[in-house]
């Protein structure tokens, strides 16, 4: 097993001059391929910012972020986009489906971007796995929150990502739907052998992952990971 994600001395500062705000400082950790990890912490602790840095959505002000042996700091926007399409899957709290695309099309987009063949069948299979094959032609507004998140799961796994980032995946769902979505998430993750990084403030959900990193005030307070 190799290291898929490594953060060294990572810091994030917003603003400039006198109005500088340090959101993250001195973050160091690494994640092995296939592992599952939760980043937990209170609101405003810097969890989401950290997720953004890990996934190449934002750039670190200090330190280096290495994903799949590639230092993200050195990449331009186009190269980052290619990395995201190739290695990363996303799940967001508010689902973030494209409103003008059907469920099926939403799942197909990452594959279309890769120029792959037979994507329709693969996408339909994924929708079937999340129990939505019957609703493949529905638009996001025609789906419930739980259904939207399940489409989001299908989309996240569609490009066979090496690493999956999930930001409060159950934050907008009721308890019952949350349970179903979480179950599905872990099942799909296990099946695909994907690395999972979960950002949450729900300790119960965090407990389902192999490791937990606690963040407070922009710094790592505790790192409970099973190494190796």
């Amino acid at each position: 097993m190799h290291t898929i994600l490594q953060l060294q001395q990572v810091g994030k500062i917003y603003g400039s001059g006198n109005s500088k705000l340090s959101v993250l400082k001195d973050i160091n950790f690494s994640v092995q391929a296939g592992a599952t990890l939760s980043i937990v912490g209170p609101s405003g602790s810097g969890k989401t910012t950290l997720l953004g840095l890990c996934a190449g959505l934002d750039r670190a002000s200090q330190g280096t972020v290495t994903l799949q042996d590639t230092v993200l700091n050195d990449l331009n926007e186009n190269q980052l986009a290619a990395i995201r399409n190739r290695y990363i899957g996303f799940i967001f709290q508010n689902f973030q489906l494209l409103p003008t695309l059907t469920a099926l099309e939403n799942v197909m987009v990452p594959l279309e971007l890769r120029g792959e063949k037979n994507i329709r069948k693969r996408s339909l299979d994924l929708l079937d796995k999340v129990g939505l094959s019957e609703r493949s032609h529905h638009y996001p507004t025609q789906l419930s929150g739980g259904e939207q998140q399940r489409v989001s799961l299908a989309r996240a796994f569609s490009n066979n990502p090496s690493i999956l980032f999930a930001d409060e995946p159950t934050g907008n769902l009721d308890a019952e739907t949350s349970d179903k979505v979480v179950k599905l998430l872990f099942e799909l993750n296990q099946e695909a052998g994907t690395t999972l990084i979960l950002v949450t403030h729900d300790m119960e959900l965090a407990a389902k992952t192999q490791g937990i990193i606690k963040i407070k005030g922009g710094s790592i307070e505790a790192n409970h990971q099973q190494l190796g």
Binding site: T48, L57, E77, N85, R86, L97, T100, V109, G115, T141
Partner: protein, 846 residues
């Protein structure tokens, strides 16, 4: 993915992304539809005009070759005229009074005495048809339709021209070169040449034009003749015109018209484009989330940009195509709009080149104006999926953005250059457009700030909320004020300018100012005319002698010298014309000496005759104090010297002259007189005119009441064309308004839902919406009126030299109408939000 499949995917995504926005996108682009329609219509019209002029140039001239001069041909000129051929017609034309014996009406008309078979191409179109030919052999006249209508005359009635009474043989509907404007200003009356002598109108002073029309074996012969005889024509003071020259002249004047109309259409297009840019900016803001998701999934910044660029190209093409189709239909209407300016029948045809031009311009300009908001897409970070950050959208440091702004300005400049073919005018137009839009925008912002600052806080919640809505983020308040303001400003300026001019003339006719001018009074008629005036209790305010003369030499050199010498600053154009000169011992109230010294009398021993010339005339002819001028006064050469340069206020109603002689020189020269008086009422005016006409048929009269009437008619005709074109800007403003209402619909729904949730009634929400549009309409119309008042003031002050007393009531009514229209359009387009249940709307919209 390599480039081709990726491009295919981008098109697919652009199509998919547009799914739920196509109506909105169409609405955005509808703003440019009218601008393109206007341009296509004008371009098509231009092409139709060129084709029609090419086809009908011979009918416009009526002959293969036409010669004209304002001096009775003799000697060389006559030999030349005779040498060209005998298959010719002659026309002698001049202004004179005509008198309708049945109704007793009289007015100044253009008398055309005709001999021969002219026109050789086309015909004098008359009712009855045969009158155009038959009148030539009898004591009959053809009278232009407008005159017949004005004096309720009928075929068979009599019309007196000078000392001869003619039977009206027919109503003249059309003659070569005549159009609606010429017939309004100087309606024509054709009489046979053989009766001209008897009319007694060919006297000294009459401004007579002699024309000779030739029928040659073929038009090419006319071209050959004119090029070989060019020098001799010039020496004999004969102007010549061939069909090719006629084609060129008519084409040029209509090119000017279509260029001007094209620019008015372009303003509508620019206005629409700003509307599009504004709408697209909001559209892209709403798309940030989708773009950020795409970026998360691996779409590159330029690919995201391309998705929306493809959409804009698509709707730009569609909008331009719709505009081109609409323009082709509008083109069918344009001949009706400009019919008064047309001296020929205009047959319109579909112009494919204009359609293609319109589609290309429309697509290009919509892309150009949508580009600044589109470029912002490249700055949208995928991080927006986690948190919104709107501030990143605009980056003033983006060099591509500045490149786009430069290209936009360059495009406006190049387009106007293409329209006007003059670099300087195009630059002024571009700067003018920038300034007008900038001023409107500036005034809009200022008024908004003032309203916000001084809005009475004691007012109720509804007006306060209505006002606050104007400042809602993403509300296109400023652009709407510019669009509606521009339209209001166009209408108001048109109205105010007309009003200033009419006031200026009416002011001249008020009190005891002269309001009737009699000219062509022969010396022996002077006392008789004064007696008639006194009998009618009219004070003779001015009686001025006028002597016709020609300029032979300046500083000892004649026209040939100045024509040959390209290094001289003197213009040879000052030689060709006939000068009407007066003599007196003092200046009038409209004259001021600017340079030199006024000398009012002359003695034979004093050397050169000291004359005074008008300053502008001196500048145009490059003449200065001390220059010697030799005038030919009916065969006698007179050596004069410029002793003074005068500034003349031409706006004052009195006889003004370019050249004034001192007393003691021209007293014995052949002369005629002009008399000015004030008639207190139309009845006195009619009696006076009739008495003069019966006693002295050669005397012509200009009644300023008639001039005012003619000017009003002219303004209405010109105004109609401008208003028609301004209509495109106005409708564009309406479309920008509708699209703006639609763009902000989602926000309005959320507000409406919120307000209803906390207990607002339907009426209250309606009132807030109506208030918002009331404030918007009021601000916009006020902005437009402020700008038009400023513009009209500048015109009155600097162009017309007239006092500025704008008629505020009509302007206020216009502002009210614009405001009400804005409220109506706003409320009508918001009715869905007002009438549906909050939940139903939310389900539908989200």
């Amino acid at each position: 993915m390599n480039d081709t499949p990726k491009l295919k995917w981008l098109f697919k995504m652009a199509w998919r992304d547009s799914r739920r926005n196509r109506t909105r996108l169409l609405l955005f682009i509808s703003s440019i539809v009218l601008g393109i329609a206007a341009l296509v219509a004008i371009y098509s019209l231009g092409e139709s005009l060129t084709t029609n002029i090419d086809d009908q140039a011979a009918q416009l001239l009526g002959a293969d070759l036409a010669l004209s001069t304002n001096k009775e041909p003799s000697g060389d000129a006559l030999t030349l005229i005779d040498s060209i051929g005998q298959n010719r017609s002659e026309e002698i034309s001049f202004a004179s009074m005509v008198y309708f014996t049945k109704t007793g009406g009289n007015r100044l008309a253009q008398i055309k005495a005709l001999k021969g078979e002219y026109p050789y191409y086309g015909s004098l179109e008359t009712i009855p048809l045969q009158a155009g030919h038959e009148f030539r052999n009898q004591r009959q006249a053809l009278v232009e339709q407008s005159l017949m209508l004005q004096y309720q005359a009928q075929v068979g009635d009599s019309i007196q021209v000078g000392a001869v009474t003619f039977a009206i043989a027919g109503i003249l509907e059309k003659a070569p070169g005549q159009n609606g404007i010429t017939s309004t200003v100087a309606p024509a009356v054709y009489i046979p040449m053989q009766f001209l002598e008897q009319t007694g109108l060919m006297q000294k002073g009459s401004r007579i034009v002699y024309r000779y029309f030739y029928r040659l074996d073929n038009p090419q012969q006319a071209e050959n003749l004119s090029s070989s005889l060019k020098e001799r024509f010039e020496l004999a003071d004969l102007d010549y015109k061939t069909i090719a020259i006629q084609k060129e002249d008519t084409g040029r004047s209509f090119r000017d018209l279509t260029r001007f109309l094209g620019l008015v259409g372009f303003v509508a297009l620019l206005l629409g484009c700003i509307g599009v840019a504004s709408s697209i900016q909001i559209y892209i803001r709403e798309k940030i989330a989708s773009i950020a998701i795409l970026r998360c999934l691996g779409v590159r910044p330029n690919e995201a940009f391309m998705i929306y660029l493809i959409q804009i190209i698509g709707i730009g093409l569609l909008g331009s195509w719709l505009g081109a189709v609409l323009g082709t239909f509008i083109q069918q209407v344009l001949p009706v709009v400009i019919k008064d300016f047309l001296p020929f029948d205009l047959i319109v045809a579909i112009s494919w080149s204009s359609i293609i031009q319109g589609i290309l311009i429309g697509t290009f300009i919509s892309i150009l104006f949508a580009m600044p908001p589109l470029l912002a897409i490249r700055n949208i970070s995928p991080l927006n999926v986690l948190r919104n950050d709107l501030n990143q959208l605009t980056s003033w440091k983006d060099s591509t953005l500045w490149l786009i702004y430069t290209i936009t300005l360059l495009f406006v400049y190049l387009f106007s250059f293409y329209q006007m073919q003059n670099a300087r005018t195009a630059l002024f137009f571009t700067l003018g457009v920038l300034l007008s839009f900038g001023l409107l925008y500036g005034i809009a912002l200022l008024l908004m700030r003032v309203l916000k600052r001084f809005f009475p806080s004691s007012w109720g919640y509804l007006p306060r909320q209505g006002l606050a809505n104007l400042f809602r983020p993403n509300n296109q308040t400023a652009i709407l004020i510019v669009a509606i303001g521009l339209a209001t400003s166009l209408i108001a300026t048109l109205f105010l300018t007309q009003d200033i001019l009419m006031q200026r003339i009416q002011l001249s006719t008020s009190d005891d100012q002269p309001n009737i001018v009699l000219f062509d009074i022969q010396s022996h008629q002077k006392d008789g005319v004064i007696e008639i005036a006194q009998r009618n209790k009219l004070a003779v305010q001015q009686i001025v002698p006028i002597v016709n003369m020609r300029l032979e030499e300046v500083n000892g050199h004649g026209v040939a010298y100045y024509r040959a010498d390209s290094t001289t600053s003197k213009s040879s154009r000052i030689f060709g014309r006939e000068y009407r000169v007066t003599f007196r011992d003092s200046l009038t109230s409209s004259e001021t000496i600017m340079e030199g010294k006024w000398i009012g009398s002359y003695h034979a021993s004093s050397g050169l005759i000291p004359i005074s010339i008008e300053k502008g005339f001196a500048e145009r002819g490059n003449m200065s104090l001390g220059d010697t001028l030799t005038f030919n006064v009916q065969g006698t050469l007179m050596q004069t010297q410029i002793a003074s340069l005068r500034d003349v206020n031409w706006a004052e109603v009195q006889t003004n002259f370019l050249v004034v002689f001192p007393e003691g020189v021209l007293e014995e020269a052949p002369q005629f007189h002009v008399l000015m008086t004030h008639v207190p009422s139309p009845t006195v005016s009619a009696n006076f005119q009739q008495e003069i006409l019966l006693s002295y048929p050669n005397i012509s009269m200009i009644d300023l009441a008639l001039v005012i009437k003619i000017l009003n008619e002219l303004f209405n005709k010109i105004g109609f064309v401008i208003q028609f074109m301004a209509g495109f800007s106005i409708l564009t403003g309406v479309l920008v308004l509708i699209s703006s209402v639609m763009v902000s619909k989602y926000q309005r729904i959320q507000e409406s839902v919120l307000l209803r949730t906390i207990g607002a009634s339907q009426f209250q929400i309606f009132s807030i919406t109506a208030m918002e549009y009331f404030f918007l309409g009021a601000l916009a119309s006020l902005t437009g009126i402020v700008l038009s008042l400023a513009g009209s003031w500048a015109l009155a002050r600097f162009s017309f030299d007239a006092p500025f007393n704008p008629a505020l009531w009509p302007v206020a009514i216009l502002a009210l109408l614009v405001t009400l229209a804005t409220v109506l359009i706003g409320v009508l387009n918001s009715r869905e939000i007002l009438t549906s249940s909050p939940l139903a709307i939310l389900r539908k919209e989200t």
